[in-house]
Amino acid sequence: MNLLKQVSLLVQKEITLEWRSKYALNGILLYVISTVFVCYQAFKSVHPIIWNALFWIIMLFAAINAITKSFVQESRGRQLYYYSLVSAKAVILSKIIYNVLLMLLLSAVAFFVYSTIFKNKLGDPTLYFITVMLGNLSFATVLTMVSGISAKAGNNGTLMAILSFPVIIPLLIVLIKLSKNAMDGLDRSISYNEITVLLAINLIVITVSLLLFPYIWRD
């Protein structure tokens, strides 16, 4: 079995498992929608900058909630079973792909709900939507690797926060700048720099994950 086939099989398995229980998906969706609603009730109308910041805070915590689970739900026995069947690279790639898909779905729903309930003028909605997608792609890639590390380290939530926040903060700085540009409707050529940085960070993180995960996996 080559790598591509292994990855696609594992992603299919993740989706099937999730679809059977729908536990994570519904839980996270409910979390996102209720947070958005609470924010709306509390603020009614806010300054655009706060609107932007609130959205990213909601997305960040939704991402952490969704992705922390990715290595926990499988027992050690089952992990050993995968280890004997497929390569470690296939496992981390499939987790990253699955988490990216999950986050893209979540963020699309969250963005839709947030912008309909909590009205705010967007200068360039398409670019804002692209930013949201890019942001969640980055959250998914970074947090998947970190959750892999913290799952091996006895898996407490504090460790996940300590390990992931330093890596997430620079991402958030770039994202907030990019989404602010989109909100103000600035010319798109101004934002190319930030988009390149985001894509570069993703590329680095995925490469490093692929290189390092085999060492975590082997135990």
Partner: protein, 221 residues
């Protein structure tokens, strides 16, 4: 003498850079005045820190391929000493900023980047404390260390150059070396960098040897 000449060299250079740095004349520039002497101390700290973190990453990679616990000890001691240099870098930077910018910590991408990078390496030490089993701790912290190094480089050297920054050498500001340094300053500045790097490595090797002795004692009992 063969093996420790560089320690003596490092000590002499640092001594020279401290004495010359405070006593030799510097160019008189508006706003900066005498604070330009801070370049002899602030920048070498960061150079030493980067070198130590680099050593740490190299030994983390070596540990992953060899499984030798000595490599793990070298990696962690490099980070320990690197964090001290980072703290001194932050303190000297804040002293300088207080005089020239009017406040010790303006909201600036370079400063925030360095603060986050520091947090990242503190997180590395917390991660080590969270794991009890020695082999596992060495492996997982090595992985996190390799993961953290490129992010640190992005934070300190790439992001501040993309945005507006007050810090010299970033965001369109020229670095001191382009405009303001004369030949006399360079004669102090470049040796100072090398001297502090040597001292940093020396402290690291001392701590490493101490840890080795400690470990041998534990295993004997």
């Amino acid at each position: 003498m063969k093996s420790y000449w560089w320690k003596i060299l490092g000590a002499f250079i640092v001594l020279y850079s401290v004495i010359a740095g405070f006593l030799l004349p510097v160019p008189e520039l508006p706003i900066l005045h005498e604070t330009i002497r801070n370049t002899y101390f602030h920048i070498p700290m960061w150079f030493a820190m980067i070198l130590l973190y680099l050593v740490s990453v190299v030994y983390s990679i070596k540990y992953l391929s060899s499984g030798n616990m000595r490599h793990d000890l070298l990696a962690v001691e490099s980070v320990n000493v690197g964090i001290i240099f980072c703290a001194f870098g932050l303190i000297t930077g804040m002293l300088w900023a207080n005089v020239t910018w009017g406040e010790p910590w303006p909201n600036d991408p370079k400063l925030n980047g360095s603060a986050i990078a520091t947090l990242m390496y503190l997180a590395y030490l917390v991660l080590r404390n969270a794991l009890d089993e020695e082999q596992k701790r060495a492996k997982i912290s090595a992985i996190y260390n390799i993961f953290a190094f490129p992010v640190m480089v992005v934070l300190l050297f790439i992001l501040p150059r993309l945005t507006d920054s007050l810090h010299p050498g970033n965001g369109g500001n020229p670095a001191f070396s382009n405009l303001d340094m004369d030949g006399l300053m360079r004669a102090v500045f470049y040796p100072a960098i090398i001297g502090w790097m040597l001292i940093g490595i020396w402290i690291m090797t001392l701590r490493y040897r101490y840890r080795l002795l400690e470990r041998d004692e534990d295993t004997l009992i």
